[in-house]
C-alpha cells in the first residue's frame, strides 16, 4: 500500500527525559520493516536537561520534509514546551498523549481540538526499578504505530547491550507497561504496511552525507572550528580523513580554518571547511583571497537563524546574501545548495568537483534542517564528479600561473614542480603573478576569473526542474522537499505546476533560467528568510513572469507543504 | 663590519685570489642592488653613479680572474670566501642608503667600502703565512689604496650637501 503522507510522531520531554532516544529507536524500528523516514529534533538552549522534541515522519517512499501536523504527540512533560510548540502543530485528527503530572499543555496543543488522552507515564515508570518514562513513551508510540512488542524489546536489548542486564530489564519493563497502557487506543489514521526494501538503504544525517560527499569528491584535507550546527561535518571527517590518508586540523578560529585550507589546497590537496553564519562572516576576507589567487576550496555553511548568534540550533535560509555578495571587490565564486539530506552528498561532491575544475572557492549552503536531520534514503549513486585540477607539470619557458587561457582556467603548478616557482597573490597581479596596479592588468584578470565561471558547462545539475504547467514554484535548498510535496497535492487538484529549484545559485544562469520559465504566467517564490533574500536575488538576475507571489518567513517555524499548497489553491480562485 | 677574527683563512695564493675575487664580486652585486633601489625610487643620478661603481668593481673582479689563470675562482671562492660574521669588506652599507641620497653620499659609501677592503688586505699582509701570499696581498693593498684615492678625488667634485638634502615636502604614500 502506498502511503506517501505517512505517519508523524513527536515526542517531547525535558530534564533528561530521553525524548530524542525514543525518536531514534522508533526510526530504527520503522526502517527495519521497510519504512523510509526523517527524524529531526528541536531543542531548548540548555546543553543538558533542556526541553527537547524528537520529530519523526515515516512514509512508504522518499520523504524530504516535515509534515503539516503530527498524528501523534507524546508529552512526557510540557515544561517550556511553548518554546517550540509552534513547530509541532497538531489538528483535530491528532492524538495527544499527556502525563497528568507533566505540567500544563502549551496553548497551541490545548486549543487544537486534538484528542487528548492522559496516561501517567512518570508514575508507570516509578513503579519499575530504575524505570524511565521515555521507555513508557516508546511502548506507547510503538504500539500505536503498529510495531509488535517483540520488535521493540529486541530493539532496546540491542541498544543497551553494553549497559548490563539490569538496564535492559528495566527498559523492557517500561516498554511493556507503555504497550499495555494503550491497549484500547488507536491512531485516527492507521499506519499501512510497506513492502520490505529491495535495495540497500542508509540511515544518515545531512551533515554526515556532506562529509561523505566531500570524500567522494576527493577532499583530503579539512580544517575547522566547532560551531553549531556544522560541527558534525568536522567530527565525521576527522576520523574518516585519517582512514583515507588525509588530515583534519582543529583551527584556533574560523580565520585560521579557512586560511589553513587555502594553504593545503595551494599545495595541491583538495580541501574543505565547514561552518555556520558567524564563521562564514569571519571567512569572507580569505574567500576573496582564494578567488583572486585562484585556489580551489569548499566551504560548507550549515545555515542557522541569524543575524549574529541568532538561533544556533534552528534552521533558516538567510545566509544567501552573504554567500553571494559577502566578498568585497568583484569576486566571482561558486554558491551551491543541497536540496535534501541525500542531496547533501551529491551537492558537496559536485561542489568539490567544480571548485577543483574552476580553481575557485565554492560555498555549499546547507542548513540546520537538512544538516541535523536523520533520514532513511536509498544508497546514493556513485557519480563521476571527482575533483580534477588542471596542473602545470611540464614547464617550458617562463611559467605564467595566471595565463589568460581561452577557458579562463590556467594550469596550476604545485610547489615542488621545478622551474615553475611563482607567488600566489591577493594583490592584483600580472599573468606571472607579479603585483601590478595597471588598469589593463586588473581588467584582464577580472575578466579571466569571471569568464571561467560563466563559460563552464554545469549540465543539468544546475537546477531541479520538475513538472509542467504555467505556474512555477521557485525555491531553493532544503525547502525543495516541501515544495515538491505541495506541488504533488496541487497536481491532484488539477493545478499544473512546475518546480524550479536552482542548485547552482552563483554564478547565475540567465539563459537556462529563462528556458525553465518559458511559458510561465505566474511564479510563487518560497523561501525561509525574513528579508526575502532569494526573491530579491531572483529579481536582480532573472526576468520573472508577470504575476509573482512570495511566501517567505524566517526560521525556526518551518514552511509546511500545506501553506505552499494553499498559496497555489488561491491562484485557482 | 668584518672583524679580524672572521677573516677567511688564507693558506695559498689560490685562496687569496678566491677571496679577492669574492670581495670584488660582492661589491659589484651590492652596487647593482643599490642602483636597482635608486631606479625603483626614480633617483636617476644615483642609478648612474652606482652603475659606474659596479662597472669599476666588475673590471677589477675580471682582472683578478685573469691574474688567477687556471684556478677555478668561482668554485674555490664559494668554498672558502665566507664571512660568518659581518659582511664582505667591500660591500657598501645598505642600511645607509636613502631614496634622496646624493652623489656625495654614494661616494662616502664607496670610500668606506674601499677603505675596508684596503684594511682587509693589509691584515692579510700582516698574517700571511708565506712570502708569496704576502707579495700578492701587497699588490691588492696597493690597488685598493689607489681606489681610495680615486674616490677621494671624485669627492672633491661633490661638496657635502646642506642638511636639507633629505627634505621631501610630499607625504609618504600609504600602500597596503
Amino acid at each position: 500500500m502506498q502511503d506517501t503522507q505517512g505517519i508523524s510522531v513527536a515526542v517531547l520531554g525535558s530534564g533528561g527525559a530521553g525524548a530524542l532516544t525514543v525518536g531514534n529507536l522508533l526510526l530504527e524500528a520503522a526502517c527495519e520493516v521497510g519504512w523510509q523516514g526523517l527524524l529531526t529534533r528541536t531543542v531548548g538552549p540548555q546543553i543538558r536537561g533542556g526541553e527537547a522534541a524528537a520529530l519523526l515522519r515515516l512514509t512508504s517512499g522518499r520523504v524530504e520534509c516535515m509534515p503539516d501536523r503530527f498524528d501523534l504527540l507524546i508529552g512526557i512533560d510540557w515544561l517550556n514546551a511553548h518554546r517550540f510548540g509552534a513547530e509541532i502543530e497538531v489538528g483535530p485528527h491528532s492524538l495527544v498523549i499527556s502525563d497528568p503530572r507533566g505540567g500544563e499543555l502549551p496553548p497551541i496543543v490545548a486549543e487544537s481540538s486534538a484528542r487528548i488522552v492522559k496516561i501517567p507515564m512518570k508514575d508507570l515508570a516509578k513503579a519499575i526499578p530504575d524505570g524511565r518514562p521515555n521507555m513508557i513513551a516508546l511502548g506507547i508510540a510503538g504500539r500505536l504505530l503498529g510495531f509488535g512488542l517483540e520488535r521493540l524489546l529486541a530493539l532496546i536489548e540491542k541498544r543497551l547491550s553494553g549497559k548490563g542486564d539490569d538496564a535492559v530489564r528495566s527498559s523492557q519493563a517500561g516498554i511493556r507497561a507503555g504497550f499495555e497502557a494503550v491497549a484500547s487506543l488507536e491512531l485516527g489514521r492507521p499506519l499501512g504496511s510497506v513492502e520490505p526494501p529491495t535495495t540497500k538503504r542508509w540511515l544518515i544525517s545531512g551533515n554526515d552525507a556532506t562529509a561523505l560527499g566531500a570524500l567522494r569528491g576527493g577532499i583530503r584535507f579539512a580544517a575547522g572550528y566547532p560551531i553549531t550546527p556544522a560541527t558534525e561535518i568536522l567530527e565525521s571527517l576527522a576520523p574518516s580523513l585519517a582512514k583515507v590518508g588525509g588530515a583534519l586540523l582543529q583551527a584556533e578560529d574560523e580565520l585560521a580554518a579557512v586560511n589553513m585550507i587555502i594553504g593545503a589546497s595551494f599545495g595541491g590537496t583538495p580541501s574543505l571547511t565547514a561552518t555556520s553564519g558567524p564563521g562564514l562572516s569571519l571567512m569572507v576576507e580569505a574567500l576573496g583571497l582564494a578567488t583572486a589567487a585562484e585556489i580551489p576550496l569548499v566551504v560548507v555553511d550549515v545555515m542557522r537563524g541569524g543575524p549574529s548568534t541568532g538561533i544556533p540550533t534552528k534552521s533558516e535560509q538567510s545566509d544567501l546574501n552573504i554567500a553571494i555578495y559577502g566578498l568585497h571587490g568583484d569576486a566571482p565564486h561558486l554558491v551551491v545548495a543541497p536540496q535534501s539530506v541525500a542531496d547533501c552528498l551529491f551537492t558537496t561532491q559536485w561542489a568539490t568537483y567544480l571548485a577543483e575544475a574552476l580553481q575557485v572557492p565554492a560555498i555549499v549552503l546547507s542548513d540546520q534542517f537538512v544538516g541535523q536531520t536523520q533520514a532513511v534514503i536509498e544508497r546514493p549513486a556513485d557519480v563521476a564528479f571527482i575533483g580534477q585540477r588542471a596542473k602545470a607539470t611540464d614547464i617550458a619557458g617562463a611559467y605564467k600561473r595566471y595565463a589568460l587561457a581561452a577557458n579562463g582556467v590556467s594550469p596550476m603548478a604545485l610547489p615542488g614542480t621545478p622551474g615553475a616557482q611563482y607567488t600566489a597573490d591577493g594583490l592584483t597581479h600580472t599573468e606571472r603573478g607579479t603585483p601590478t596596479s595597471t588598469a589593463a592588468d586588473h581588467l584582464a584578470q577580472l575578466d579571466k576569473r569571471r569568464d571561467k565561471l560563466d563559460r563552464f558547462n554545469y549540465g543539468d545539475h544546475w537546477a531541479t526542474i520538475e513538472g509542467s504547467g504555467d505556474i512555477a514554484v521557485v525555491t531553493w535548498g532544503s525547502l525543495t522537499g516541501a515544495v515538491r510535496e505541495a506541488i504533488g497535492r496541487a497536481t491532484q487538484d488539477g493545478i499544473a505546476t512546475t518546480l524550479i529549484a536552482p542548485r547552482l545559485l552563483y554564478p547565475v544562469r540567465p539563459e537556462q533560467f529563462a528556458a525553465a520559465l518559458e511559458g510561465k504566467k505566474r511564479a510563487l517564490v518560497v523561501e525561509q528568510s525574513h528579508g526575502a533574500q532569494f526573491h530579491r536575488y531572483l529579481r536582480a538576475h532573472y526576468d520573472l513572469p508577470g504575476e509573482v507571489r512570495v511566501l517567505n518567513r524566517p526560521g525556526p517555524l518551518p514552511i509546511r507543504p500545506e501553506e505552499i499548497h494553499r498559496a497555489l489553491l488561491e491562484w485557482r480562485k | 663590519m668584518s672583524k679580524a677574527s672572521d677573516l677567511p683563512k688564507i693558506t695559498s695564493v689560490a685562496d687569496l685570489f678566491a677571496v679577492a675575487y669574492q670581495i670584488e664580486a660582492d661589491a659589484v652585486e651590492r652596487y647593482e642592488l643599490l642602483a636597482e633601489q635608486m631606479e625603483t625610487h626614480n633617483n636617476t643620478e644615483l642609478v648612474k653613479i652606482f652603475r659606474d661603481l659596479a662597472r669599476a668593481e666588475a673590471l677589477h673582479r675580471d682582472e683578478i680572474r685573469r691574474m688567477a689563470g687556471d684556478i677555478d675562482l668561482v668554485e674555490h671562492a664559494r668554498r672558502i670566501a665566507k664571512w660568518k660574521r659581518g659582511e664582505s669588506p667591500e660591500e657598501a652599507d645598505l642600511g645607509a642608503a636613502h631614496y634622496m641620497m646624493t652623489p656625495w653620499h654614494a661616494l662616502q659609501l664607496a670610500l668606506a667600502a674601499e677603505q675596508r677592503a684596503l684594511d682587509f688586505f693589509a691584515s692579510v699582509v700582516k698574517t700571511a703565512p708565506n712570502a708569496e701570499i704576502k707579495k700578492m696581498a701587497d699588490e691588492f693593498v696597493e690597488e685598493e689604496a689607489e681606489h681610495v684615492n680615486l674616490v677621494q678625488r671624485l669627492l672633491q667634485r661633490y661638496p657635502k650637501p646642506s642638511s636639507s638634502w633629505s627634505d621631501d615636502l610630499d607625504p609618504p604614500t600609504s600602500q597596503e
Binding site: E32, R201, I204, L212, L215, R216, F221, S240, L241, A242, K243, V244, G245, G246, A247, L249, A251, E252, L255, A256, A257, N259, M260, I262, G263, A264, S265, F266, T269, G288, L289, R379, P415, G416, P418, Q421, T423, A424, G426, G433, T434, P435 | E29, Q37, E39, H41, R78, K82, W83, L94, G95, A97, H98, Y99, M101, P171, P172, T173, S174, E176
Partner: protein, 277 residues
C-alpha cells in the same frame, strides 16, 4: 645534473627572483632578503621545494622577491595558511615571513597557536616597531612614548614581548637577529629551518622612513653572551631580563613536531558501511 650536483651548485643568487623590491632604500628588509637567500644556499635546498608564506605589510612582500614558491595572503593569517600547507605537504620546507603588525597584532592569536601546534616550519618576523605600509602607526612592539598621528603624545602602552610569548606558547626554537648582520642572520635562519618543529626568529629590521632612530640599533645590538639553552625556565629568565638587543639562538627545545602521518588504510566503500541499514 643529479639532485646532489644541483644542491652543490646552489648560490644565494639562485634564490632571488627578478622582481624588484619596493622597499625604501636603507630598509633592513633588503638585508633580510639577503639572509634568506644565503640561508637557503647554505642548506642547499632546491628552490622549488621551499615555500615562503606571508601576510600583509612591508615584510610580507618578501616571497615574490625569492625564486621559491610563495604565497602572499591576507593580513595576519600566514601562519594558519602555512600550517595547512605543511600538514598537506610535509615534503616541503616552509618559511613564514611576517612583521610586527602582521604577526603580533592582527595575527597575534595565530602566533600563539602556531607555537603550541609546533608544526615543522620557520617563522621569521621582521620587527621594525612600526606600521610602514600605512605610514607610521604604532605596532604592538612600539615604545609607549612613540608619537604619531594615530597615537598623539605616545601610546602609553607597554610593548609586547614576542620572544617571551613564543616560549610560553610552546615554540621549539627561539632566536633574535639584527638585519644589519646578514651573515649571522643567515646562519640562524638555516639553523631554525634545520631544527624540527616551530622555529621562531625575530629579526630587528630598522625602518628608515618612519623610525630613523632605529639606525642606532647597529651600535646597540650585541651577541648573546651564552649559548642557547634547552631549559624553558632558564630561557624564560634570560629572555625576560635581557635588554631586547641580545642576539643569537636563545632557546632550542626538544618537543616533537606535530605532523599527522595517516596512511590510507581503507577505501570509501568501507566508510559508507557505517550508514547502511
Amino acid at each position: 645534473m643529479s639532485t646532489l650536483d644541483m644542491r652543490a651548485a646552489c648560490k644565494p643568487a639562485d634564490y632571488k627572483s627578478d622582481v624588484k623590491p619596493i622597499w625604501c632604500p636603507g630598509c633592513g628588509d633588503y638585508h633580510v632578503l639577503m639572509s634568506f637567500t644565503r640561508a637557503f644556499a647554505e642548506l642547499g635546498l632546491p628552490p622549488e621545494e621551499i615555500v615562503v608564506v606571508s601576510g600583509i605589510g612591508c615584510s610580507s612582500r618578501i616571497p615574490a622577491y625569492t625564486n621559491c614558491y610563495g604565497f602572499h595572503g591576507v593580513h595576519g593569517r600566514s601562519l594558519a595558511l602555512a600550517a595547512g600547507l605543511k600538514v598537506a605537504r610535509p615534503d616541503l620546507t616552509i618559511v613564514v615571513a611576517s612583521g610586527d603588525g602582521d604577526g603580533y597584532s592582527i595575527g597575534g592569536n595565530h602566533f600563539l597557536h602556531a607555537c603550541r601546534r609546533n608544526i615543522d616550519m620557520t617563522y621569521i618576523v621582521m620587527d621594525n616597531r612600526v606600521y610602514g605600509m600605512t605610514k607610521g602607526q604604532p605596532s604592538p612592539t612600539t615604545e609607549p612614548s612613540f608619537d604619531s598621528a594615530l597615537s598623539p603624545g605616545g601610546t602609553g602602552l607597554s610593548p609586547f614581548h614576542p620572544l617571551v610569548i613564543a616560549l610560553a606558547s610552546g615554540a621549539n626554537f627561539i632566536a633574535r637577529c639584527f638585519s644589519g648582520q646578514p651573515n649571522e642572520t643567515a646562519t640562524v635562519i638555516a639553523e631554525a629551518i634545520r631544527h624540527p618543529g616551530f622555529s621562531f626568529v625575530e629579526i630587528l629590521s630598522p625602518c628608515v622612513t618612519f623610525r630613523p632612530d632605529e639606525k642606532d640599533w647597529k651600535d646597540i645590538v650585541h651577541a648573546a653572551p651564552v649559548p642557547a639553552t634547552n631549559d624553558p625556565a632558564k630561557a624564560a629568565r634570560r629572555i625576560m631580563t635581557d635588554d631586547g638587543f641580545n642576539l643569537g639562538i636563545l632557546y632550542r627545545g626538544d618537543r616533537k613536531p606535530y605532523q599527522p602521518t595517516a596512511k590510507a588504510n581503507i577505501d570509501l566503500a568501507e566508510l559508507e558501511r557505517e550508514f547502511e541499514l
